[in-house]
């Protein structure tokens, strides 16, 4: 077992998992705000993210290779697009979870639209957004192993290598590493949530992904 290579690929896998979730969040927040502001937009956006999710990652790699080559970017772009399927609905649900009296009181206190969004609505959406982020990060870390198929380093390499060389310890070690990475990221997000929302009634939020999204996620992970 080549441990230096193992750690290097674990780090690469972590990067391929975290970057898409972070970029996905950066896209989902404005997109979600827009979907709440203009209600008609949400339906089409939701359909679009679901359709994207239905495309196999390998097919997206193939489409992207001519323009982005055989690099990290070719893996990060599809995973980012997949994360939108969970993150956009969670941003929308989070913003819609702000109680109407709170919104009204904020307006009546003299908050303008933007200030109300930044100081009241987004902070109150944090628990639900983080719940979505947890799902997005974990699924990205898991999905990232597919990158091996186009020669981009990730823990997926050890699945193929272990299979070809009939070296099952290598496969198990990589599976454990994926799980530990996913749990580690999840734990960090749970802690972040506690720090960011000391006001929250109950700790340990649940993802409010829609049934369709959840199912798609599971299928992709397989």
């Amino acid at each position: 077992m080549n441990w230096p290579q193992f750690w290097q690929y674990t780090a690469a896998n972590a990067l391929l998992g975290i970057v898409p979730a972070v970029v996905g969040l950066a896209i989902s927040v404005p997109l979600g705000i827009a979907c709440v502001r203009w209600r008609w937009l949400y339906g089409p956006v939701l359909s679009a993210t679901s359709v994207i999710y239905a495309i196999p990652s390998l097919a997206l790699f193939v489409v992207l290779i001519p323009s982005t080559g055989l690099g990290n970017l070719t893996v990060i772009i599809p995973l980012t697009l997949f994360s939108l399927c969970v993150l956009v609905p969670n941003v929308v649900d989070g913003l819609r979870s702000v109680p109407e009296p709170v919104r009204q009181a904020a307006t009546a206190m003299g908050f303008g639209t933007v200030r109300r969004l930044v100081r009241v609505e987004l902070p109150l959406a944090v628990p639900i957004v983080i719940a979505g982020l947890r799902v997005a990060v974990v699924s990205s870390i898991s999905l990232a192993s597919v990158s091996t198929l186009i020669g981009v380093a990730s823990l997926g390499y050890f699945f193929i290598d272990g299979l070809q060389r009939d070296f099952s310890e290598e496969i198990y070690a990589a599976i454990v590493a994926v799980i530990v990475l996913a749990l580690g990221c999840d734990l960090i997000l749970v802690l972040a949530r506690r720090l960011l929302t000391p006001w929250s009634r109950k700790q340990g939020g649940r993802a409010t992904i829609n049934a369709e999204g959840g199912q798609l996620l599971q299928e992709q992970a397989i």
């Binding site: 009296p101 009546a108 206190m109 009241v120 006001w199």
Partner: protein
Amino acid sequence: MITFDSVTKRYPDGTVAVDALDLEIPAGKTVVLVGPSGCGKTTTLRMINRLIEPTEGKIFLDGQDIQQANPSTLRRGIGYVIQQTGLFPHRTIEDNIATVPLLNGWAKAKARARARELMELVGLDQGMARRYPHQLSGGQQQRVGVARALAADPPVLLMDEPFSAVDPIVRATLQDELIRLQGELHKTIVMVTHDVEEAIKVGDIVAVFRPGGHLAQVDTPEHLLGAPADDYVEGFIGFDRGIRRLSFFSANSLDLDSDVVLGENATVDEARALAGRGRPWVLVADAERRPRGWVSAADLASRPGTERLGQLPLVPVGHTFRPELDSLRVALDATVLSRTERAVAVESEGRVLGVTSYEQLRDAIRKAEQAADDELAQGAAT
């Protein structure tokens, strides 16, 4: 002063919430808008801080057309309290209260110091400053709501059914505190309620709405009870308005009988002499003139003439009242509840001033009603 000049609110589906409303809300007064649901009272309130924009007509705040003002600036000068409190769940109590000062650009420390002052003013323990809204009871949250509305010392305070979500005992306390606060602060308060008792209790002026967004009557609570404009208002006020009106007449006008009071060292003979002059009950008081109990003429008959009154079994005094503070309603209530059909009037130290019975009450009520009716008639004439 807030002036509604022929204000109409019509929704796109054609419903008219408020119909050509003319209303003047004098500065420094508490004006309560009351009526059944769907009568336009809440719409009227929310048009003042432009949460709802009128379809027609104009609203003036101290002579300025509010349509010309920047909505956010306008709202920072108008406190707003709502039933569900609308407190920010993610902010501590002190930061909730400091909201408007912070929006106005105060330094954080100064805004928080102001928040502590207001907590004191509305009767909240300083220990709650760092807690979050969900850790407080409904009544406490409502106090925070009032404190938050007052934080930037706005001249106008809008209250939308502020006390309807709390239990009756807490509600009564909050109403009393609002009356006390208003006595200190003299804000222009516009309050919406569906509870006519609340309107009569806290309002200087009560505006009764009828369905369809029309005003039925705008008057002082006393006049409203004494002379409802029509059957609708009378029905809305409720059936015992005659009794409730007595709340507005001072018990000071009662003719008190102080001759029936004897010390506990007085003898049965002295009491008999009093009872002989047509007084079926004698009030026994201690050396400091605090009431101890009643003794009846019938009981006196069987006692030796030299016995001290303090030694006799006495009928309990029951509720007392204070003429300089209480209303005729309180005096009447004390009389009704008393086993002797008489109530004892006391001064601030609890010493007996005198005794009242139904006869004196009847005279006082008649005089007070006459005076109020004369005043009403005069008001109508001018």
